[in-house]
Symmetry: C2
Subunit: 121 residues, 2 copies
Amino acid sequence: MYQKKIPEVLDCGIAVAVKVIGGKWKAWIIDCIRRGVARPSAIHREMEVVNPRIINLHLKELEEMGIVYKEIFAEVPARVEYRLTTVGRSLLPVINVLEQWGNENKEYVNGHHAEYILGNN
Amino acid sequence: MYQKKIPEVLDCGIAVAVKVIGGKWKAWIIDCIRRGVARPSAIHREMEVVNPRIINLHLKELEEMGIVYKEIFAEVPARVEYRLTTVGRSLLPVINVLEQWGNENKEYVNGHHAEYILGNN
DNA sequence: CAGGACAGGGAAAAATTTATCCCTGTCCTG
DNA sequence: CAGGACAGGGATAAATTTTTCCCTGTCCTG
């Protein structure tokens, strides 16, 4: 893994939350697992546009942060399943809020808003 | 500005939200403005650990996304103030949720949790 | 005038994240 | 046995973000 040269600033709650879901594909991965897409290969299939290697890296980070848990079954063709930890599940409402806001405002944010909307402030 | 070579995937609401607050200092900047720290130099003072150049870049992005609005007063030593647009203000509850989750879980996320917490799933 | 606050940005480097390529294994099925 | 699914990772490149350094102006105050 990459060794950081600039120490992270993680006293702020927002920074912590962004660290957890700020990765390019992390939220999507969490969403997969929450929907029960648990096995690595299944996640890879779901997220076909993303390189499997990347997904694995993100999964490892999520595991190290205690968001997902990796269960390795002692079966013959060793099976692996990811699931959310308690803390990981506590993240779901947060993701829902993000998703809702994003969906409500995606056109605006990406759009050509020469017209800025100002309210009373 | 940097010209992207890989097109962004912004159909997903989460991706949009992360784009808005995922930058390293964006949420902090938004927090400054929401607290009324409006002038560039004031924001720079608040965020002393961050290079002013970076703050300016992030401000520009936030402006382009329609989250903040830049008001240039036609005064003699041209004064500039940033404030949140309506959409920018709609982001505040979202940030609050992020911040609360982060504060509640920062020790856990950064901590040495060899002990993964699993609930019923 | 000297110095500092103020707003802003170019150029280039460094740091970090993301992506690509390809390899090592095991096991199961046809 | 051949091929494919499965889990995983090293090495390296590319893309993106962040940082540093330094420059251009205006205006105001001592």
